[in-house]
Symmetry: C2
Subunit: 140 residues, 2 copies
DNA sequence: ATTATATTATTGAGGGGTCAATGATTGATG
DNA sequence: CATCAATCATTGACCCCTCAATAATATAAT
């Protein structure tokens, strides 16, 4: 006995598939994973920021944040130190090398995003963004 | 010095975030990961199917397919045997227990998908599907 | 027939993510 | 001020994924 799949359900799986394809492609183009890129990007914006604030912005688990930053620190793209006024916090800061590298792959990231949304109108981008945010709300 | 992020780039990261949230939620609701669910779903459709055909349908790496099916076999939701007419292939078949379990969580999956697309019109679903497929084409 | 080529499945290494438990530090409260 | 509760970071266990290398089998080509 077979059963059918609704359009909604098809979309759910399409999402997963698309994402599985997106991540590796992005990484091949920029040499950074999406998460690492986001992390470094935020560090450019904030200069100094605690891990827990980064966590809230990036929206991945604390554990993943810690491990990414430890690795980025080992790679010397980032420096970390305790917050003197609150010793629970670790404050993260981009090194010169980190800044250089994230700036270097700006172009790659942009052209990747352009390729991804080739032939999308502004209205479509807007509507897509809107729908994704609504989905996010719906499953919250 | 800061730099800005285009709408396209914002969408790229929104995709990743949304997906990171989608997977775990789905799993908590159905007790199957999205991939396992898809695998079992296809087995309901095909009754018997080779791993390589499954791989092409589900669109994840061969290695992941092998590991999922080995685990599902250990859980006795699936049986596997060599194809007598082509010994390279492994043919996969759903067990009664596997059938029972996948059918059991149909309801959970449906209500999850409904929740996800709450207040989406048919046109929106259609347009979303269309856009996702175009993105998939664009990055292929 | 024998050799070269392609297909299928498997494994190992490594990256990314979650959840749960732990330890340290800070803040609030009786 | 002593204790209890919240916050932050870290670690371990485990899941999912990709890529690359390998082994086995089948197919094609000389």
């Amino acid at each position: 006995m077979k059963f059918t799949i609704s359009e909604q359900e098809e979309l759910l799986f399409l999402f997963k598939t698309l994402n599985n394809q997106l991540g590796p492609k992005f990484e091949r183009n920029t040499n950074f994973s999406l998460s690492r890129f986001e992390l470094l990007y935020q560090l450019v914006q904030y200069d100094e920021i605690s891990q827990s604030r980064l966590q809230k912005i990036i929206n991945i688990d604390h554990a993943a944040i810690t491990r990414h930053l430890k690795q980025l620190e080992a790679d010397e793209l980032v420096s970390r130190r305790r917050n003197p006024t609150d010793n629970r916090e670790t404050i993260v800061h981009l090194t010169d090398e980190g800044y250089k590298q994230i700036m270097n792959c700006q172009q790659d990231k942009s052209s990747f995003a352009n390729q991804m949304f080739l032939q999308f109108s502004d209205e479509e981008l807007q509507s897509l963004m809107d729908m994704l945010k609504r989905i996010q709300e719906n499953i919250r």
